[in-house]
């Protein structure tokens, strides 16, 4: 594990260019996996802007992690970057223990770390299958496992799993990815029932096409076709997902649990014409 930590001296209302927030998560501890880039990065910034102390996990993107720490710190937020492989069960627990020891029990966990290894099934190697399941599904298990009992004992906590509309609206070449995300949806509902009695909510967000590095290859290949498929005629931004994550983490969402929220500009409605 590597730590690059920083504590803002005065927390300003906002990170530059962001809208004003109500500091709905003031001083709550949040942990976001896969936080240095893409959707995860957007979520980290949005939680920090709500006043949360945010730790994020990154695997290899050192420069992205550093720039995120710098950006949030400059805005007066509290942030910590932790390098960790989410597929490592023991390490996940260790990371959580250290964050909880230093700050406080984790209130918001966002399982966002995810990978794709697209390929037609008949040509898919076991390694491509396992990598996707290990990161997307088992990584989610590892971090939920690391926080769940403490959240239950505290009688508070929010778990937000990042799924995908690809779980239900499948694409060729994504058997592994669809399987991992479909499993996350089922896992979300099952875990929600176990923790509901303790006031801990577990929900998933299923993004559609979001403008990130992960979708870059598809975007380059398909170009404007994707936009035409989306009723709103635009790709989503990481902030579109981050706003929903903040809502699910906020006090206002305390009665919502076991849900999978699709955020896709209407793509999954199936009504668009190419």
């Amino acid at each position: 594990m590597r730590y690059a930590e920083s504590q803002g001296s005065t927390r300003q209302k906002l990170i530059q260019g962001w809208k004003e927030t109500n500091m709905r998560l003031k001083d709550q501890v949040a942990l976001v996996t896969g936080g240095s880039r893409g959707i995860g990065r957007g979520i980290v910034k949005a939680l920090a802007a709500e006043g949360a102390k945010v730790a994020f996990i990154y695997k290899g993107s050192q420069s992205s992690a550093d720039s995120l720490v710098a950006e949030v710190t400059a805005a007066g937020g509290t942030i910590k970057a932790v390098q960790c492989d989410v597929t490592n069960h023991a390490e996940a627990q260790k990371v959580v223990d250290e964050i909880e020891k230093e700050w406080a029990p984790i209130y918001v966990l966002v399982n966002n770390a995810g990978v794709i290894r697209d390929g037609l099934f008949v040509r898919m190697e076991p390694e491509d299958w396992n990598t996707v399941i290990n990161t997307n599904l088992n990584g989610t298990f590892n971090f939920c496992k690391a926080v769940a009992f403490t959240m239950a004992r505290q009688r508070k906590g929010r778990i937000i799993n990042i799924s995908s509309i690809a779980a239900d609206h499948t694409n060729q070449g994504q058997t592994n990815y669809a399987a991992s995300k479909g499993a996350i949806n089922s896992f979300t509902r099952a875990l929600a029932t176990e923790l509901a009695g303790r006031g801990v909510t577990v929900n998933a967000i299923a993004p559609g096409f979001i403008e990130t590095d992960m979708t870059e290859a598809v975007r380059n290949k398909a170009g404007d076709i994707i936009k035409k498929m989306i009723p709103m005629k635009r790709l989503g931004a990481p902030e579109d997902i981050a706003n929903a994550a903040v809502f699910l983490a906020s006090p206002e969402a305390g009665y919502i649990t076991g849900q999978v929220l699709k955020i896709d500009g209407g793509l999954s409605l199936g009504s668009a014409h190419v």
Partner: protein, 129 residues
């Protein structure tokens, strides 16, 4: 070693924390599930808190045995615990008062064995050893 009263008081305080109930809701005969509303995860929390409170180690399944009869027809027949099943209960839960249960051993009533007093007796036995 703490007295019986001291143990009971501590057990009671532990349950207040673990189950989010008021102290006056708790009596020695209160059942954890029926009277105090405990769910599965609450049993884990109770064990966790008792371990810390009394500085003891409670092996999994010792205080709250899981699936005691495993659907074994020798232990349960027509929804009732057999004599052999009752013997198994006595062995697995020597700290439980099964006298009342024995008179009408409906398997669905087994959760009523888990009372505040049962926990206190378990702790007494544990500390005595």
């Amino acid at each position: 070693m703490p007295s019986q009263d001291e143990i009971y008081t501590k057990v009671s305080a532990t349950l207040v924390e673990a189950l989010n109930v008021d102290e006056d809701e708790i009596s020695p005969s209160s059942t954890l599930q029926g009277d105090l509303g405990a769910e599965s995860i609450d049993f884990l929390d109770i064990v966790f808190r008792l371990e810390r409170e009394f500085a003891i180690k409670i092996p999994r399944g010792e205080l709250f045995p899981e699936a005691i009869f495993q659907g074994d027809p020798e232990f349960v027949k027509d929804g009732r615990v057999t004599d052999k099943g009752l013997e198994e209960l006595r062995q697995k839960m020597p700290f439980a008062d099964i006298g009342k249960f024995e008179r009408n051993p409906e398997v669905t009533a087994i959760s009523d064995l888990f009372t505040v007093d049962m926990i206190a007796k378990y702790i007494q036995g544990k500390l005595a050893n």
